[in-house]
Symmetry: C2
Subunit: 336 residues, 2 copies
């Protein structure tokens, strides 16, 4: 059973998950051909028996059988389902059982497809699959927090090449989400406005604007922690990703595709992390939190400085990243 | 001029340092021979002109001229000296000039030497050089916080191979140090004892004890964020590294060497980060903070989960890491 341990000094939580060693990786094999991929990749069609049974699937539409998207439990889970969330302390040292869900969302049968290259309709299906799992876990009521994230490329932490996202459901609200919620709440109490709505208003025609449509805006955030970091924000205020409408997900797909394709062009298919940030399940934060997607290419290593200070060093001004991405998209300068 | 930007939501600080792109790296050249190293490495003897002039140096003892340790300003600084720390806000968006010092401590003339392979006397000199710079910056009084850290190996963020550490002096106390200080203060107020002293007492004969001598204890911390993370704690309570005595630094050298050599043996010369954690310069934290060294091998990538949650996933129980390190050191089990 994984275990959550609390640092007695900082209050940081650490997930101790011994099972995660020994995970397979296919990145070490250089230049595998497509046939090998299908044979060895646990996410390719025909190899369904290599993963645990699916918890959710989108069948292929029209003719024949098969799947377009599969969601399966992670074979090397960081957290595991459990009957109850138990805690036990030994004076200085607090522990919690690491109860939770850890799932893998296999985005497409095509081994080499990415969210930048898939057709918009297929990306929309991925977003719908994300939301189906979010909604099901909210309804189940066992957990406090759901996170969907994607590690693309080995430098971003992916151990398998075939396009996939991950879902983690946790019994506690993790530190960073808590910090964001606290910041958003403080702004709301002072201003009576959502801070994300304020940022959307401020950035809509500014130097950090990247692209957008009627429903979404993409910006390079003012305090970008990583070079080329971008945020995709829904213009409509909603705290949780589960609250996004069908029309919004349809509208998000082309914006997500364009953004990722532009980063691919600017940086030559960079590794990246993508996270869907949403308010906790049991939290009255509907007024002040605002769900969104964050994407950060992994171009430099987090090193001693970042670890020691908790601060980030970024060498790319977000204003310049936004300008270059607009150029790639052939968009007019903001305000013109 | 680098710039410190505050995230309007989380309060996180980001150091925006455009100059850091274009840093040289010598890790891409495979199997360079020793001659090439000396010719191209800016930290090798004879190439002193390739770095800015030194701010501190330890000359070779005895015969001849030359240096044993050099401290030079970082050519690609994350922060830069400035006359004054200036701030400016634009509503949502707060900035500070990134005023500070960023120095490189070249640990030895030998290109390939490491803190695990150098003789104890040379390691002691490195620790003394660290402390000289700490003390000089404290005395100068311009900055609030000094951090010494070491990125060893490219996966740990090092861009040059020749053994070196880094020093950063900052105008603000960074978030992680603030969090540690707050945690330590809360414990002190509740218990009237230093939490690090409590941890030393608790772990001295326990399953997470690694090694030690009269002045230092090495442990695998209870909530290790990284596999094989170890802490070196002075038994004597002192808040700041600058307060360590000469005798303590002499006593630390062999403990540091043994610890790093054991990690090298256990993990096959792993990349790692080392940080010297000390109380801020202007802070009345003498009673509740306790300076120490943290070392974390870089075996897995920080990925989407860690970034999104601020929590860590660790697959190696610290009890097991401690046991294996004790075995390598041929130490008896704790309590025996």
């Amino acid at each position: 059973m994984p275990e959550l341990r609390k640092d007695p000094i900082t209050g940081d939580w650490v997930l101790l998950s011994p099972k995660r060693t020994g995970r397979p990786t296919d990145f070490t094999k250089k230049s595998v051909d497509a046939t090998q991929r299908s044979e060895e990749c646990p996410f390719c069609p025909g190899n369904e028996a290599m993963t645990p049974p699916e918890v959710f699937a989108v069948p292929i539409t029209g003719k024949g059988k098969g799947w377009q998207i599969r969601v399966v439990p992670n074979k090397f889970p960081a957290v595991e389902p459990a009957g109850a969330v138990g805690g036990h302390g030994e004076d200085l040292f607090e522990r919690l059982d690491g109860a939770g869900l850890h799932e893998v969302i296999i985005e497409n049968p095509d081994h080499g497809a990415t969210l930048a290259t898939l057709p918009e309709s297929a990306i929309e299906e991925v977003l719908r699959a994300y939301q189906s799992r979010f909604r099901a876990i909210e309804k189940d009521g066992q957990f406090s927090y759901v996170l969907i994230f994607k590690n693309h490329g080995p430098e971003a932490g992916a151990t398998l090449e075939h396009g996939h996202s991950q879902l983690v459901a946790l019994p506690v609200v993790p530190p960073r989400a808590r910090q964001e919620l606290d910041g958003a709440r403080a702004h709301f109490l002072a201003q009576k406005r959502c801070i994300y709505c304020d940022i959307i208003q401020e950035e809509a025609a500014g130097v950090r604007f990247v692209t957008g449509n009627d429903d979404f805006i993409v910006i390079a955030p003012f305090a970008s922690r990583f070079a080329w970091e971008v945020w995709l924000l829904p213009r409509r205020h909603r705290a949780r990703f589960a609250q996004a409408s069908e029309a919004e997900l349809s509208s998000l797909a082309p914006v997500l595709k364009t953004t990722l394709a532009s980063l691919d062009e600017a940086l030559g298919l960079p590794p990246y992390n993508l996270i869907v940030q949403s308010a906790p399940i049991r939290d009255p934060s509907d007024e002040h939190y605002h769900w969104h997607i964050e994407i950060a290419p992994r171009l430099s290593k987090l090193a001693g400085f970042e670890w020691a200070t908790g601060a980030y060093i970024n060498s790319m001004p977000p204003e310049e990243a936004a300008r270059k991405l607009r150029e790639i998209m052939h968009l007019a300068p903001p305000g013109s």
